[in-house]
């Protein structure tokens, strides 16, 4: 798995590439945690490069979503592939997590005047 961090003006884009499973999920948990501890709680997970996830990926998304919102921010998803979207749907995640067609739309969904 490859993770790339891109700090935009008021949003942090975490681009993920590869497969998320019980092994690689730890790397993603660590990356998300690092951003939030640095005060970056408005997060976009760019999933265009994620070709697969098991429930391990759902655990990461849920933990990140909870912590980001508790700190006044949010986690939003962008460019989720169909195979991964099916897993999110089957787990009831599409009702608690906002998904956008691309990174630009996900970034723009956070108001820029947000403190």
């Amino acid at each position: 798995m490859k993770i790339t961090i891109d700090q935009r003006a008021h949003v942090t884009v975490v681009a993920v590439a590869g497969s998320i499973d019980a092994l690689t999920a730890d790397t993603l948990v660590h990356a998300m945690g690092e951003q939030m501890h640095a005060g970056n709680t408005r997060l976009v997970a760019a999933f265009e490069g994620v070709e697969y996830t098991s429930s391990a990926g759902l655990r990461v998304l849920l933990a990140t979503l909870k912590e980001a919102r508790q700190r006044g921010g949010d986690l939003r998803l962008a460019a989720v592939q169909e195979r991964v979207l099916r897993v999110l749907d089957l787990s009831g995640f599409t009702s608690i997590l906002k998904c956008y067609p691309d990174v630009g739309a996900a970034v723009a969904s956070f108001p820029s005047h947000h403190a």
Partner: protein
């Protein structure tokens, strides 16, 4: 990873003597290739890859426990209109019927990650069977073509 073989007509088998999380990617690749080999359509393979990954992750993390990796054997066979995956391990006995069901309608702050793995398995396969036979856990997953 070791021991890819074809023990019987149509059955494809792979054994890992000391399964770790680092084996998951290769096990997924094996299940995908084996499903194609027994003639299952891609959607069947995709479902069984996810289900087998969840089962094997549980075996490594909970069946054997940290620092005590044990064997996992996966067999893939043709089933009517689809494929059948059997996963055997010698870890602690666990019947997936005892896994608690996640609440998928709870608000975000009340959601828990527990139980999502077995929930996904049930969602993507047509049959999930468990049997404990002389110290061996046997999970059978059947997926038919949609």
């Amino acid at each position: 990873m070791s021991g890819a073989s074809a023990p019987g007509a149509g059955v494809v088998r792979r054994s890992v003597p000391r399964a770790r999380l680092t084996d998951l990617a290769a096990l997924r690749a094996f299940v995908a290739a084996a499903c194609a080999e027994v003639g299952a359509p891609p959607a069947v393979g995709e479902a069984l890859v996810l289900a087998a990954d969840e089962v094997c992750s549980n075996i490594v993390l909970h069946g054997y426990g940290a620092g005590e990796p044990g064997p996992i054997t996966i067999e893939v066979d043709r089933a009517a209109d689809g494929a059948c995956v059997t996963i055997a391990d010698e870890g602690r006995a666990f019947d997936p019927a005892d896994a608690r069901a996640p609440d998928l309608t709870a608000p975000w702050d009340a959601r828990e990650a527990g139980g999502l793995g077995w929930h996904l398995v049930r969602q993507v396969v047509d049959e999930l069977r468990y049997e404990r036979r002389s110290g061996v856990n046997l999970i059978t997953l059947v997926k038919r073509a949609p």
